[in-house]
Symmetry: C2
Subunit: 279 residues, 2 copies
Amino acid sequence: MNSVVIIGTGLIGASIGLALREAGFAGAIVGIDASGDELKAAQELHAIDTAARSPEEHRAAIASADVIVLAVPVLGILHWMQQIAPTLRDGQLVTDVGSTKVKIAEAAQTLMPGRCLPGHPMAGKESGGAALAEAGLFRGATWLFTPLHEFTAIEIEWRGWVTKFGANILDLPAEQHDRICAWVSHMPQMVATAMSSVLEDEFGDSAEMRAIGGRALREMTRLGSSPYSMWRDIAHTNETPIAETLHTLEQRLQHMRENLKTAQLRDEFQKANAFRFRT
Amino acid sequence: MNSVVIIGTGLIGASIGLALREAGFAGAIVGIDASGDELKAAQELHAIDTAARSPEEHRAAIASADVIVLAVPVLGILHWMQQIAPTLRDGQLVTDVGSTKVKIAEAAQTLMPGRCLPGHPMAGKESGGAALAEAGLFRGATWLFTPLHEFTAIEIEWRGWVTKFGANILDLPAEQHDRICAWVSHMPQMVATAMSSVLEDEFGDSAEMRAIGGRALREMTRLGSSPYSMWRDIAHTNETPIAETLHTLEQRLQHMRENLKTAQLRDEFQKANAFRFRT
């Protein structure tokens, strides 16, 4: 691997550039981003060496890269995959960091068989943007991959770099990835959004509500500040699994609501206690 | 105020004893608790001077106290109110720290008119027990009161001590208290319990689920470790307001589930963004 192009130089993309450098990668890192500001910020941080700005520069950067990292939201990844598929040559690897994997794995099999290793680092911050990028962002984090064929030489090399970033690799089939992520990430987000939304309807900026709400309320609604722009693509590309988790939760809440004074409520608390999430 | 009896010397009761001392209270503080261990721990911390252990010692302590602080769960508070009501004399104050106020205010009006100022400090820790008690537990916290009549002299004095603890007093009618607490405290708890419970059903101790779940999942399920023993009394004495919040949330989740791919989802995210909870 002598050259990498990172498409999307926000928090994750720019952190990958910094992590590569910290891990000793000495080749070229070119950045592409729809936002000139993000591109400039990534370059100032030395997360990328050069910024490709025009369509011609994009084509040249992609043509000469050994690894093409797609670090934009999921619908953007699917769009870029269609754009670059006709120009790919043997030995190039396309990988991504998208939050859902079924649609991306489908596109990979159709558009670029044998040339794509979908990925998903479980890392991030409350806000995005290249300015918050860090070489250590992936240290100790799980980096999911969805292998679609026997590993190629360039895939094995990319996985080696990810390990050098300090991440722990876990391979999962696309359907299993999207189903687990629906439960542990997408459902919590939708619940925090729903809670924040009903509280906004009920209280707006009520001083009494804010004086009374404590740590529990802050924690349970923190994700309510997540922007739709981040979540639209996830909801679009993982609709059925997310809908299943929400339906299950709605039924459980109804059951608890109908049993606030019965021993059934105790059973739910005991099951929740048993869950006792660690790490 | 020359003497106080604290009934229930767990985290909140023992912290009240310590806060009184730190604020300069020089009178007697007697403790009562069903658990000999909690009583001993409170005494060793100097949260109480003496422990009243037998029914005779209880009666004597209560008879000689200017202020009787009920710091047990809500059903326990209602039980103690019935026990002590016949023995109360002019000038004594009964106050409490219970999580719901409608049932307690009703009992106060019936059993001890003019002698009770229900209260509710919004403070606590993840675990209970006298061993975790602190004089500073109430500093900066909101301490809710539900005044039931013109303030008496002893009530004004007790409110002065609460202010010296560093707490901010907020007076709310009982119905309003229970309704707001249902939204900002009881609903978040029930949701965390429901989420933890469905995740336990779905995954148990699955290593993959735990490797993938991050900060969002930890935060959204932290309250899942709350014990039923703490919440049974709250669910029993605030059933209708809690059921209303859960029903509203169920409907909102259903709406989002049915609109994962429409602009309605964007509207919910925008409303949630507007909520932006500040401490």
